[in-house]
């Protein structure tokens, strides 16, 4: 009788442990992680509207090497600007859980010749992804097959599709 009780208790404990362990493993994001997405950002402030239409490539090669490509246009106060730049990230760390958090240091931002986006608009966009001027943080949540929800420091930002 007692061995049946012990076995039952063991199963009752082992099942949830196994379930959580499976979830934990299932949510792990293997590297390299290449995820593409298109986002229309709209920021409103006291009647001013700033819109940024971007195609973005997030390429995480390793915990210490990643980059973030931005290509598109921005409109504000009747003016249109071109964005074409790469944000290089390094000195990273990865936290695993139901979400995976990638935290990197912004090494440099490389603009292409046609990129004429004013710094304040770019900084406004990057503020959604950064904790401080040089700490880039991204939360990645698996959403099913090849689909990932990306979160920044304040909120969810986009859904990307893994290549």
């Amino acid at each position: 009788m007692i061995n049946k009780i012990i076995l039952t208790v063991f199963i009752l404990l082992a099942l949830p442990a196994g379930f959580y362990w499976y979830n934990y493993q299932h949510n792990q994001i293997s590297l390299p992680f290449n995820c593409l997405y298109s986002t229309d950002y709209t920021f409103k402030d006291k009647g001013d509207i700033q819109t940024i239409h971007l195609k973005q490539d997030l390429i995480i090669r390793s915990a210490n090497h990643a980059y973030f490509l931005l290509n598109g246009t921005a409109e504000t106060s009747g003016k249109t600007y071109k964005i074409n730049r790469t944000v290089l990230l390094d000195k990273g760390e990865v936290e695993h859980g139901s979400e995976t958090i990638f935290r990197y240091t912004v090494n440099s931002v490389n603009k292409k010749a046609d990129d004429d986006l004013p710094a304040d608009i770019f900084d406004n966009l990057m503020s959604e992804y950064t904790l401080s001027s040089d700490v880039f943080e991204l939360h990645v949540y698996p959403q099913g097959r090849e689909t990932y929800l990306l979160g920044g420091t304040f909120s969810y930002l986009s859904v990307c599709l893994r290549e």
């Binding site: 404990l13 298109s38 229309d40 950002y41 859980g97 969810y156």
Partner: protein
């Protein structure tokens, strides 16, 4: 006094403990099994009739034994002795009785107090006896060490479950529903019906503004947060994903709305 079976298993008469000499694994037998084993060990290999056994084990002590009881305790003895490494011990003579299998060696050790002699090496006998007292029917070898090891394993499992649970959390579990039109709506918080209606209306409004429609094969990921931070009062994400024939998202268009800017204009 004790009996030694095949130089490897000992039965101590004083406390009815059957133990493996080498490893000291011990089982304290129930009293009928002790009496039965003693009779078998003293039989010298002769055939023991069922009637005789019933009389010596039960009747003599004012108890009523049955063939079932006898079979049960014989089975116990076979299993225990077998678990200790002597697989062939008792032979059944159909419709007659039992006998010790030829070749099994039985030695008698007449030391006056085998219990005290063994106490140094059988520290867990008393604990095992207590355990056995509460577990009639548990005839496998469960020493205190085994129980403690098992308990430790359970504690580790509980600890791991809690750690993993805390680490993974449940807050991000998406809640999926189907909107009018057939598309799926994925939300990231549990809503009551009023909140859900409000969010559904908001999603439909966003879809209209962006010339999108809700139809099967479309999944909308939506989240809406309010904030009183320095950087604005709220952020909304609506992702409009269309899937291919296999149901895998093929294209996703994201619409992100932020109230406020991160800098002063």
């Amino acid at each position: 006094m004790r009996y030694i079976i095949n130089s490897s298993i000992a039965f101590r008469v004083e406390d009815g403990a059957l133990y493996r000499i080498e490893s000291n694994d011990t089982v304290v037998l129930p009293i009928p099994a002790q009496r039965l084993l003693l009779i078998i060990l003293e039989s010298g290999g002769s055939i023991l009739r069922r009637e005789f056994l019933l009389q010596e084990v039960w009747d003599k002590f004012g108890l009523v034994g049955s063939n079932n009881n006898l079979n049960q305790y014989l089975s116990l003895l076979r299993r225990t002795v077998s678990a200790f490494g002597c697989e062939e011990f008792i032979e059944t003579i159909p419709k007659v009785g039992i006998k010790i299998i030829d070749g099994v060696q039985i030695e008698r050790d007449n030391t006056e107090n085998a219990l005290s002699q063994d106490s140094g090496e059988n520290d867990n006998v008393i604990e095992t006896r207590l355990f056995t007292h509460y577990t009639k029917g548990l005839f496998r070898i469960w020493s205190l060490k085994n129980i403690m090891a098992f308990s430790l394993l359970l504690i580790v499992l509980i600890f791991l479950s809690v750690i993993v649970h805390v680490k993974t959390g449940v807050d991000q579990t998406p809640v999926t529903s189907t909107l009018k039109g057939g598309c799926h709506l994925v939300l990231y918080s549990e809503l009551n019906s009023q909140q859900y209606e409000r969010i559904s209306a908001k999603v439909n409004d966003y879809l209209k503004k962006n010339d999108k429609s809700c139809h099967p094969g479309v999944t909308i990921y939506f989240d809406d947060i309010s904030s009183q931070s320095l950087y604005g009062k709220g952020r909304t994400l609506l992702s409009y994903c269309e899937s291919d024939k296999k149901g895998i998202n093929d294209v996703c268009l994201n619409y992100f709305f932020g109230d406020g800017l991160h800098y002063d204009k």
